[in-house]
Amino acid sequence: MLSIPSSIIQNMIEHARELAPHECCGILSGKEGEISDCYRITNILANMSEQELTRFDGAKLSDLQRLSPEERADIAFQMDAREMAMAQRDMRSKGLDLLGFYHSHTFSPARPSLTDITIAMEFESYRAKLNFPEPFHLIVSLEVADQPVVRAYRIQEALATEVPIHTLN
């Protein structure tokens, strides 16, 4: 179970809508399964060089290489590492934990893609060594424009399991 204030759910949906068709991304912090803060992070994908795209793997990399830089951000995101570090520092100063990551799927359902799972597993391999708690992965889908959907997942051993969201008013 993950508890999120309705204002933060609304904030994530607004973020997704503002950036559409590009994917948005951000970080959520809080304590013990209850989100209290949301940090919007820049999706820098459209500004990444061809060489930097090799950060992605096989099929996704081929897809990205076929598109223009602007179009790439429609199907993927890369968080700005500096903003991510700043957010982590801010949450640490407030005594909060990094509880989750969110991003949007502009044209597809609110479930993790193969790329999402691969990169979540990559993060998982570093996480414990850096003392980060296990994150929730949230996806905002704008597939049906007037009916945005937000879902949360745990991703373990290459499997995504949906976690119910309890909305706090």
């Binding site: 820098i44 060489q51 890369q78 968080m79 590492a81 570090a85 990559e122 060594k129």
Partner: protein, 91 residues
């Protein structure tokens, strides 16, 4: 020696190793030595201006070097350097 954690996308350059030991007294020296031992890796970490690429975080132990003294952050025996790409994904 300093233990350096290598992220998944760069492991083909270290023969598949997730951790390597490097000599160096600053982060910058470690990256230089890493680049000499494993050609191509430095270019994956630094941009054309020689700055850490915008999607990469480098930690010394549990602190991001941006909040220490950047690439000049001093290292002592037993410190651990982790190279971590920021979260990404795609639909």
């Amino acid at each position: 020696m300093i233990k350096v954690r290598i992220p998944t996308p760069l492991r083909p350059m270290t023969g598949g190793k997730s951790e390597v030991e490097m000599a160096g007294s600053t982060v910058s020296e470690i990256i230089e030595n890493l680049g000499s031992a494993h050609p191509g890796i430095k270019e994956r970490l630094y941009d054309e201006q020689g700055e850490v690429r915008r999607f990469i975080n480098i930690y010394v132990n549990e602190e991001d070097i941006r909040f220490l003294t950047g690439k000049d952050t001093p290292l002592k025996d037993g410190d651990e350097v982790s190279i971590i790409p920021a979260i990404a994904g795609g639909s």
